[in-house]
Symmetry: none
Subunit: 202 residues, 4 copies
DNA sequence: CGCTAACCGAGACGGTACGTCCCGTCTTTAC
DNA sequence: GTAAAGACGGGACGTACCGTCTCGGTTAGCG
């Protein structure tokens, strides 16, 4: 793959890159309804015909542009030496922050709309979220295994109960979930942390 | 006002009604991106020019059509003799069922997209959800007051943790929240119900 | 007829009159292309639906409005004691003046256009002009009979040669035929007036 | 310039040509009132949007289409060795025949109507006729100079008296001027042709 | 280091939907 | 009971993009 890509004309790679960027920016800015190849073209200075040369249509361009975001924040990114419960906290907090402000969050309404009617976008969207969720589920399971979290907790359900509120606030209300409330949410859903010696923690 | 409205030309009322219905159906079916006044016109047999006579543009029609859904399912609808916890269960279950299949749920992606860029739709959307959430918050608060729910639970946060998963499943994954899992979710978020002898709990 | 008209609702007669006036004014002002029932309605304050009650459509209204102009300037209007040649002069001069400025002249382009595609307007137009022309032809013939005009002149052709230039100037150039040139035109077409001794002519 | 024009996309030239033709045909057929870009599009198979790409609106298209008619029939076309009076006869006869049947004549009502309210059409119309008239005036003047025509004739006025009847017949009556009557008209307006010895005239 | 193949920009083209305006018909309301 | 008001279906307007296409002009990278 690396070889193959090395062979591609650098002009192509360059066009693809700037168009994808412009597409995301446009999507975040004007949404799906007013998203226009024309505007993308104007925004990045690549001719309309060139865009059509690389992507058959609007939706495919969007789907492809979104793929480039698929750089996970690193599953074990700063995993370091934290406890499983800390790991959960980290993931949820990261989610809350990402939903507060980021290109993905701004595109979210457009993505959801597009996903409802276009297979490629839908696949990207579901997989993207599935992978994020999986990390969370695993962290919770690890917490249970470590006795950090009560063992009658269903990790999958708990992950939903942790991620759901953040999504809800962003999409169904006028504001975002406050990252500082994350600890409170975790306590609510996973129960108070085991008292053993919480003060000795950090 | 009643008098005044009685005086309105019945044709107007009729046009408004069928167009609104068709608009919602169209929105649910093809989404916001392909929503077309032309299709709405074709679907309900009302001329395009008549539609424009009543609504200045596409988005205003959508916003207005959504308003007509604003008939709450009755806050104390079947309140009857149920316990507060039962009331919570009822509300969450109702939400889960509504999100499983209903015109509103089908329109949701379109609504979210439109809300991101159109004030009227946004206002409708936020208020609609706020009112549904408020009912849940109140039920939880009542449960706490009745000793039915632990008193360290924050009703607003708990309501999010209950509604969030349902929204999440619908919008971020390929399926819907199973209404049968509602009890499990409630137990997770609000804690096990106080059995005969709650002190024997854990 | 007088009886019949006496019976008609005075409001009807009033509506008909003001609408016809407004229609002519509108026609002269904006021409046939932009002539609009809506504007006529606005101009005279009579409701659109009322106009349609009296005239089936735009063209019929125009045709009818034009009919009301059919008040000939009086064939023997100021016939008085003038010579036949003077009578010719009078008629041609009258035509030149009418074409210089009058509501009919202003409507002329619209009439011609409408006449090309609508029988009623065409009939009105042709008859109107035929009757004006006939007066001229008769005056010329009278002049010939009186020895006032050379007898090898074809009255019909001469009438055309007299009226034609006036029409031409109005419709095909940027200005109108100067009424003061009428005498010159008559001399050209009908020959110099027989001076003292007509026998010296040819 | 020739080079530059050679570079223009042949598709453009092609579109322009067929649209102009269709526009004239449409104008002649249905007149100005019912002239529709849609019909022109249908008639020539060029898409409506393409037409709008080349002409901003209906009237501009009409004006431009008419310009293409501006190919004079050649002032000294078949001038050959004819006498000035023959030249006059030729021109008038040509006019009569053109007014009998030709695309221009069929468009005339529409042109006149449009000219009344649109500068471009008016300019075309007046210039077109001015140039035709000028040829006639010059021929008459030449005839006077050659002693072929009486020298008390005003060439401009005579030209009007010759062209006027033809225009009049076409626009104000139900038929056209018979080309065979042209000689008679010329004799009426310019006087009998000088017999054997023209020098004996006056 | 020059040739050739590919990409690029420009933009014409046939379409579709927009939102506007007016048509001519028809119904409802009010005087 | 008739006139005004105006809703209605319809159709053309001129605009904005769509996605397809054909052009020269440029540029990369192979020979």
């Amino acid at each position: 793959m690396t070889e193959a890509e090395d062979r591609t004309d650098p002009r192509i790679e360059r066009s693809r890159r700037v168009v994808r960027q412009a597409a995301l920016a446009e999507l975040a800015e004007v949404g799906y309804g007013r998203f226009t190849i024309e505007s993308v073209s104007a925004r990045c200075g690549v001719a309309r015909s060139t865009i059509y040369r690389h992507w058959p249509d609007k939706l495919t361009l969007i789907a492809d542009a979104l793929q480039t975001l698929n750089r996970q924040p690193g599953p074990a990114d700063a995993a370091g030496e934290t406890s499983p419960r800390q790991r959960v906290r980290q993931l949820v907090r990261h989610l809350a922050e990402a939903f507060r402000e980021s290109i993905v969050a701004d595109c979210l309404p457009a993505i959801i709309e597009a996903a409802a009617h276009h297979r490629d976008v839908r696949d990207f969207h579901h997989q993207y979220n599935a992978s994020r969720r999986r990390a969370l589920v695993e962290a919770i399971a690890a917490g249970i295994a470590a006795g950090d979290i009560a063992d009658d907790v269903d990790p999958a359900l708990a992950a939903l109960a942790l991620a759901g509120p953040i999504v809800y606030r962003r999409l169904m209300t006028g504001d975002s979930f406050d990252p500082n409330q994350v600890d409170q949410l975790i306590d609510l859903v996973l129960g108070e942390p085991p008292a053993r010696s919480p003060d000795t923690g950090c």
